[in-house]
């Protein structure tokens, strides 16, 4: 950035110095020639300085205009125009000064004329180079490889001409002609690159025409001034080489003029069609607006509004309405330049005359209904087209466009609007899908919370006693289950254990589980008989559980003094028990109905307390149905037999090892580490 700025300043400074040297040397040469003296400076100096001046200006504009990416087409033309304006004004000021001097001696002095000529020439050349740089940008807009090469050849040719001009090398005549012809050809080829014109809108085209016209004026003015001045000097000093003898300048001038004329004509002839191009562009923009409305706008309503606006502006409709029929939000009407009453009249008319397919929402085809409108009394409209808006194959609304002219809609227009209507349908569908996805996401989030709650309800540490050890395991699937286990020390010789399974899944299951935990912790402390525990728990849950929900549970009281386990089973999976003395395993299938099944006092008849004596080495495995109902690939269940078998293999191990073994067997059986239910188990080994 700093570098290009430095180049701009340096080149500008260079051009000024070169010009000053040029003026000084040229006047000296002219003076010495007038007086017939040998010149104090070399004769080639003015020419060389002119070349240096041109090169410096070339770099100046190259860095100040060419590299500026922010300029658009009109800006470029404006730059040319502004340069021309300044140059012309400066030139006019000098002309005014000269005319004020009148016919004094100074005014007619050849040296003064030369000075004026040099100023004008410098202004003219800077204007030409400014134009050249801008034209270059316009030509190289949408460049191709071929175009860049052509341009490079053109630049090289110009450079050769410039060197030739400044050094006055003797080049054979035919070669000069060839170069000139090549340059002429290149100018015409390059001037055919007018793609930028298509991107101008109507207003910009007019601006460009005006700017070009004024630029022509400047060109004309300078050509006139410069040639006049050089003529008058030439008249007095025959050896003076005027503007015309400088081929580079002529080449540059012809390039600028040819391209300007081409541009002017192309823009002029493009004027009538620019509205079509603009409209196409607007259609694209509108189309984009509809498709992007979902990301930027927040509701369906804005999609409808955009659809209405875009359709009206694309086909120049005089009025329009959009009728939306939705099951959730009811009937909605969006209107544009038509009263709801008018729209209702037309709709009622069409309905009452049983005109099918007009605004009939079941119609899937767009129909031109103009002929019916003529007979609607008091309506100013003579043309009508209607389009269905479909979401997921279901028509949700109708878009109707109206015109006061008869036969106002052509095929092209209906095609565009139907595309709009389709896109709006897609946008709305996307919007609804997004909404759904959002809901699902929220539900998942809720489940996550429920899962955390459920996890936190399970005990972090279990009771232990000198004569038994407990190990527990709980793993749940993505869905939240309602498995619960817990232990509580009642007194120094009694410990209460519970395992429970809440019916259902999700947040409600987690909620019921927390109720069960509350019940367990409050009732277990009261040293109740297990049957009494269940009865009271049922009474507590009677009014908490919703219809159809229940909790299966087994409650144990282990007494380390009497070595008796008293328990009550309320619909829970039977306990797997290993008797060490006999070396047998079995399920304790006692009577018992799940909590919440019977919501009356009769419940106490449906549960009972059972007793079992335990001895060292005995093992009790509590589990939930997730384990016995776990399925393998052939959808066989793990079942009671496999559970029993798994326990038999490891009866001499510790509680923790037994449990690990059972879980391992379970995973081996199901063949996957992904579980589809809750696996919960509690193993008690007596010592």
């Amino acid at each position: 950035m700093l570098k290009s700025k430095a180049i701009i300043r340096l080149s500008f400074l260079g051009s000024i110095i070169a010009w000053l040297v040029l003026v000084f040397s040229d006047i000296t040469v002219l003076y010495s020639e007038m007086k017939g003296l040998p010149p104090g400076v070399p004769l080639w100096l003015p020419r060389l300085m002119l070349a240096v001046f041109i090169l410096c200006l070339f770099y100046y504009y190259r860095y100040s205009v060419d590299r500026d990416e922010g300029l658009n087409f009109t800006d470029l033309l404006w730059k040319v125009f502004a340069t021309g304006l300044i140059a012309t004004v400066v030139s006019l000021v000098f002309r005014l000064g000269a005319s004020l001097l009148g016919t004094t001696k100074l005014a007619s002095n050849i040296l003064f004329t030369d000075f004026i000529y040099q100023i004008n020439l410098a202004l003219f050349i800077s204007f030409l180079i400014a134009a050249y740089t801008s034209w270059k940008r316009l030509i190289l807009y949408q460049k191709s490889k071929w175009l860049i090469r052509t341009w490079a050849v053109f630049v090289v040719c110009l450079f050769i001409v410039l060197i030739y001009d400044s050094l006055q090398i003797a080049i054979p005549e035919p070669l000069t002609t060839i170069i000139l012809v090549v340059i002429g050809l290149l100018v015409f080829i390059l001037s055919a690159n007018m793609r930028w014109v298509a991107y101008l809108n109507f207003k910009q085209k007019w601006t460009c025409l005006l700017l070009l016209l004024l630029s022509f004026f400047y060109l004309g003015y300078f050509i006139y001034t410069v040639s006049k001045l050089s003529e008058s000097i030439n008249a007095q000093s025959p050896s003076f080489s005027g503007f015309n003898s400088h081929i580079f300048n002529l080449c540059l001038l012809s390039f600028v003029i040819v391209y300007s004329v081409f541009s002017f004509l192309v823009i002029l002839f493009n004027l009538p069609t620019s509205s079509v191009f603009e409209q196409k562009l607007e259609e694209v923009v509108n189309f984009q607006r509809i498709s992007q409305s979902i990301q930027t706008e927040q509701n369906e309503e804005s999609v409808y509004n955009i659809l209405l606006e875009s359709s009206v502006s694309s086909v120049f409709a005089d009025a329009a309405w959009l009728e939306i029929q939705s099951a959730t939000d009811g009937h909605k009407l969006f209107t544009f330049k038509i009263t709801e009453r008018e729209s209702k009249d037309i709709r009622d008319y069409l309905r009452s005359h049983n005109i099918k397919g007009a605004l009939d929402q079941s119609s899937d085809r767009t129909k031109n209904l103009s002929r019916h409108l003529a007979s609607v009394k008091g309506s100013r409209f003579r043309s009508l087209v209607a389009f269905p808006i479909t979401v997921k194959g279901e028509t949700i609304g109708t878009l109707a466009l109206l015109k006061e002219l008869p036969e106002g809609f052509n095929k092209e227009m209906t095609r565009i609007v139907s595309t709009f209507a389709n896109q709006a349908g897609i946008s709305i569908e996307n919007f609804r899908l997004m909404e759904e996805a959002f809901q699902t996401e929220r539900y998942k989030e809720e489940l996550k919370i429920a899962k955390t709650v459920q996890k936190s309800l399970l005990p972090t540490s279990l009771e232990s006693a000198p004569d038994f050890e407990i190990s527990a395991f709980a793993e749940s699937a993505d869905e939240v289950g309602g498995d619960y286990y817990d232990t509580l020390r009642i007194n120094d010789h009694q410990v209460a254990l519970i395992i429970a399974d809440v019916s259902g899944k999700g947040t409600t299951a987690a909620f019921h589980m927390s109720q069960m935990k509350g019940i367990f912790h409050s009732l277990a402390q009261q040293e109740l008989d297990p049957k009494e525990f269940m009865d009271r728990a049922n009474r507590a849950l009677m009014f908490c559980l919703e219809r159809g929900s229940f909790i299966s549970a087994t409650y144990f009281v282990v007494d380390s003094v009497t070595k008796i386990i008293r328990y009550s089973r309320a619909g829970h999976c039977p306990v797997l028990y290993f008797k060490a003395r006999e070396g047998t395993t079995g399920y304790l299938k006692d009577k018992g109905t799940a909590l919440g099944m019977v919501r009356s006092k009769d419940y106490c008849k449906l549960v009972e307390t059972n007793e079992i004596n335990y001895a060292p080495g005995d093992i009790m495995v509590l589990y939930t149905d997730g384990i016995t109902e776990a399925k393998n690939q052939r959808s066989e269940e793990f079942d009671y037999t496999r559970l029993e078998a798994a326990l038999k293999e490891v009866t001499d191990k510790t509680a923790e090892e037994i449990e690990k073994h059972i879980i391992q067997r379970l995973y081996e059986f199901s063949g996957t580490s992904e579980i589809n239910d809750d696996y919960t188990s509690m193993t008690i080994k007596f010592k």
């Binding site: 259902g504 309320a570 999976c573």
Partner: protein, 116 residues
């Protein structure tokens, strides 16, 4: 997946369950029983012979109608359960609460006795 059929025989509404009753399909069972009660049938018999599996939610459906049926004096009799399904009922302690028979004939007879 479940398929539920209804058939009327001798003033009894016979509901046949074909397939598995899980959390989602239990809603269908719930609706069917509600409809049957709503239509005023005095005897409801459930054919479980083609029922492969029933989840706790499905059992909850049966339980939720027990009180209502008792009040309306409409007997609910189930029959033809497969061993595995019967096991589910018995573990949850429902065998004592619901009337469960082996054959359709027995079920009809029991329903007649109960509705008197």
């Amino acid at each position: 997946m479940v398929h539920i059929k209804r058939l009327q025989e001798d003033n009894a509404d016979i509901i046949s369950i074909i397939g598995e009753i899980d959390a989602s399909s239990s809603i269908e069972l719930d609706l069917t029983i509600a409809k049957s009660l709503g239509e005023g049938f005095k005897k409801i018999i459930v054919d479980c012979s083609a029922m492969e599996y029933i989840s706790s939610a499905g059992l909850g459906v049966f339980m939720s109608y027990i009180e209502e049926m008792k009040d309306k004096n409409v007997p609910l009799v189930l029959f033809g359960m497969k061993e595995k399904v019967a096991n589910t009922f018995s573990i949850l302690g429902l065998a004592d609460l619901l009337h469960i028979c082996n054959t359709k004939q027995e079920a009809k007879q029991l329903a007649d006795e109960l509705s008197v």
